[in-house]
């Protein structure tokens, strides 16, 4: 009779351990999924931030913005070709 109770207890422990393992695994998976989602969100946010900065840099670098400012603030002008001197590279420079 006592032997039978031991078996019942053993099965009960085995059941509890298995259940706990399933629960722990599920919990870890859900936590990992959350972290993954958070990381994806962060990456998307950073991508968006970078794209926004690139767009603003492109706009700031564009001739439509730079040329009038260079003319107004620095007194520069677009050079005519006679003001452009292309210096030939010395033959041994490469």
């Amino acid at each position: 009779m006592a032997k039978g109770r031991h078996w019942v207890a053993l099965w009960l422990v085995a059941f509890l351990v298995t259940t706990w393992l399933v629960y722990a695994r599920q919990t870890a998976a859900i936590r990992a999924a959350r972290e993954l989602a958070d990381l994806r969100a962060r990456r998307a946010n950073l991508d968006g931030h970078r794209a926004d900065l690139e767009r603003r840099i492109r706009a700031a670098e564009s001739r439509a913005v730079l040329v009038p400012r260079a003319q107004a603030r620095l007194g520069l002008h677009l050079p005519s070709d006679s003001e452009i001197v292309l210096v030939p590279a010395p033959s041994g420079s490469r």
Partner: protein, 660 residues
């Protein structure tokens, strides 16, 4: 009252029947209908979702992104889940740009949905708000929407390419969607568990275009300024590399501000731009010598019942004079030495009346009628550029053939196609269509065009230090099949520099209202302005090493020397024989080096360098290990924190394009 034994038997029988029914029903559910119920349960618990593939990016020739794919969001709000409707509502309204009224309406609904799409930056503060549900979607993003808009095109509602290169390249850019299975609860909400991926999405290929973003901006701004100044109906600018057929810039603009791709689709009569092609036939077939003169007829000549006039009457003209001052009378007289078939074949050989074959979804062929459909004045009209309609891209390619020593190439907008990992899948090589004229005739024709800029109608396009070869064209406009009174198309085609040209420019101004309508005063100055800006720009695809050396001026080849159309075998794959492209060599790995050292390393390998960013060299475009022509431009991307990522100097950097 039955005996207890009987009652027990009745109960036992009842239990047995019940059990039998239960087992039977279980067998029916599990065995007979098991599959159907299993599928239904599966459908209730799981959902198959489509994983969007990232659409490939489009870059300019230096790696500047022109079209990229970015994650954006649709936003769903469940008002009953909000913890603090007032505070959350204020935040949500601010981030999504909602009016008070819209938000109040949303609160009255069970579930409010805002399609947006909203950027990651806009929705970032909403991620932690309970009751806000974000649905990510990939969206196309154009960093500078104004650049080459008509050429690049746009996506339609379905996310497929609807116009321009987005449409032509759709099968390459789109990639292949994947699929995954997610778990749902009984209310249909997704569980927070990772999706089971059935088929991963395959991202689309990245395409490097031949366009040069800086040249494109120069062309667009110059065209916009010109149209505004001249109060014109519209215009086009085409710039291309004659040695490769690569289109460097394409700008089109109409009076209403729209930018449909008229450089491909709209035809016009080229007028005097076509005179050089009559000259090409005359020189190739040796129907004229440099000393041949024709009378200028005092500027007015009546022939075949029609009066031909010259703006700048000359007493006597050679072929060179006819091109230089753009004499209608002289070119009509010279062209009379050609048979209709010869004249037609030459124009056809230069690509008129046929598709150029460029990778664009819409292209007009223009009109070039066969001699059987000509009338008596057709030969003279065609020599003067009438009875012929062309597109700006056709004109650019035909002049490109003159620049390319007589070899007509197929134009292209695609320079490279790269896989998601950065590996090159396709690289453009010049594709010859046919030899149109011999090299000597091409040199002679370029000299004729040079005379136009030095002493003729194109003098407004002349540069002080660099020789330019060009031709003006002013033609009456055809409106609804008739020549419209007082309406003209001013056009200008230029080769820069005149010797070993690196750039072909075609400028077309439709119906200028203010000031002169002649191309000499309208399109020619626009060309000079663009050339000056291109020379002053840092990254424009000009080979300054070749420009800086005093290029020997091409000797004026006698017109009757070795002319004639002869069979010519083109080596395949084609390598231009004008020494335009240096030997190819591997791009060195400079990742992790300081800027100065990286630039020196690239210079030592014979490359020119365009810088993007500052700090430590991160990667190059073309990537380290790729081969590129000596003297070509390598874009060096730098980042102050690149050293941390690149790690030790010995580690090979990943093959990839510029930062997106």
């Amino acid at each position: 009252m039955a005996r207890p034994a009987v009652r027990i038997q009745v109960v036992q029988f009842g239990v047995l029947v019940g059990l039998a029914l239960l087992v039977g029903r279980a067998a029916q559910v599990q065995i007979l209908h098991g599959r159907r119920w299993a599928e239904e349960a599966q459908a209730q618990r799981t959902e198959r979702i489509v994983l969007q593939a990232r659409r490939g990016a489009l870059y300019d020739r230096h790696g500047t992104p022109l079209a990229v794919t970015q994650e954006t969001y649709h936003v769903g709000i469940a008002p009953n889940e909000l913890r603090d409707p007032a505070a959350d509502g204020a935040l949500i309204s601010r981030r999504l740009g909602l009016t008070v009224r819209t938000w109040q309406q949303a609160l009255r609904r069970r579930y409010a949905y805002f399609a947006g799409p909203y950027s990651a930056l806009e929705v970032q503060p909403l991620r932690s708000v309970r009751g806000v549900h974000l649905e990510s979607v990939l969206n196309r993003f154009y960093p500078d929407p104004a650049v080459a808009r008509a050429t690049i095109g746009r996506l339609g509602d379905e996310g497929l390419g609807a116009s321009g290169l987005e449409r032509t390249l759709d099968s390459l850019l789109a990639g292949r969607s994947g699929a995954a299975v997610v778990l749902k609860d009984r209310a249909g909400r997704e569980y927070e568990s990772p999706a089971r991926v059935i088929a991963p999405p395959v991202p689309g290929l990245d395409v490097v275009l031949t366009l040069d973003a800086e040249l494109q901006e120069i062309a667009q701004r110059a065209l916009d300024d010109a149209l505004r100044r001249m109060d014109a109906d519209g215009g086009d600018v085409v710039m291309l590399d004659p040695g490769t057929g690569e289109v460097l810039a394409l700008a089109s603009r109409q009076r209403d501000g729209s930018a449909r791709p008229s450089a491909f689709t709209d035809t016009f009569e080229p007028g005097s731009l076509a005179k050089i092609f009559a000259a090409a036939a005359l020189l190739s077939l040796r129907r004229v010598s440099p000393t041949d003169h024709v009378s200028g007829e005092g500027g007015k000549w009546r022939v075949l019942g029609r009066t031909i006039t010259d703006e700048d009457p000359q007493p006597s003209l050679t072929l060179a004079d006819a091109i230089r001052v753009s004499s209608n009378i002289a070119i009509a007289k010279f062209a009379a030495r050609l048979t209709p078939l010869e004249q037609y074949a030459t124009l056809r050989d230069f690509g008129f009346g046929a598709f150029t074959g460029i990778e664009f979804p819409a292209e007009a062929t223009g009109r070039l009628r066969p001699p059987s459909e000509w009338t008596r004045p057709s030969a003279a009209s065609l020599a003067m550029g009438y009875e012929l309609s062309v597109t700006p891209i056709q004109v650019a390619m035909a002049y490109g053939a003159l620049a390319n020593d007589g070899l007509l190439l197929q134009p292209t907008l695609i320079r490279e196609i790269r896989g998601a990992g950065g590996g090159v899948r396709y690289r453009h090589r010049p594709e010859p269509v046919r030899r149109v004229v011999s090299r000597d005739v091409a040199v002679a024709l370029r000299n004729l065009l040079r005379g136009v800029v030095e002493r003729g109608t194109g003098i407004e396009a002349a540069l002080t230090n660099f020789p330019v070869a060009a031709k003006t064209g002013t033609a009456r406009r055809v409106v609804n099949g008739r020549y419209a009174a007082g309406e003209y198309t001013a056009s200008f085609a230029a080769l820069f520099p005149a010797d070993q040209p690196q750039l072909v420019l075609v400028v077309k101004i439709d119906n200028p209202h203010k000031g002169s309508y002649f191309a000499a005063q309208t399109a020619a100055p626009v060309t000079r302005s663009m050339l000056e800006q291109a020379l002053a720009a840092r990254t424009v695809a000009l080979d300054r090493a070749r420009l800086s050396t005093a290029a020997p001026r091409a000797a004026a080849a006698p017109a009757d020397d070795e002319g004639g159309l002869v069979p010519y075998v083109v080596p395949w794959p084609y390598q231009p024989d004008s020494a335009g492209v240096g030997p190819r060599r591997a791009v060195p790995d400079v990742a992790g080096l300081g800027m100065r050292e990286a630039v020196r390393t690239l210079h030592r390998r014979g490359f020119r360098v365009a810088l993007r960013g500052w700090g430590v060299a991160e990667h190059t475009w073309p990537a380290a290990g790729d081969s590129a022509a000596a003297g070509s431009m390598v874009t060096l991307f730098a980042d102050p924190h690149a050293a941390d990522r690149v790690g030790s100097r010995g580690a090979a950097p990943p093959r990839r394009g510029p930062r997106r």
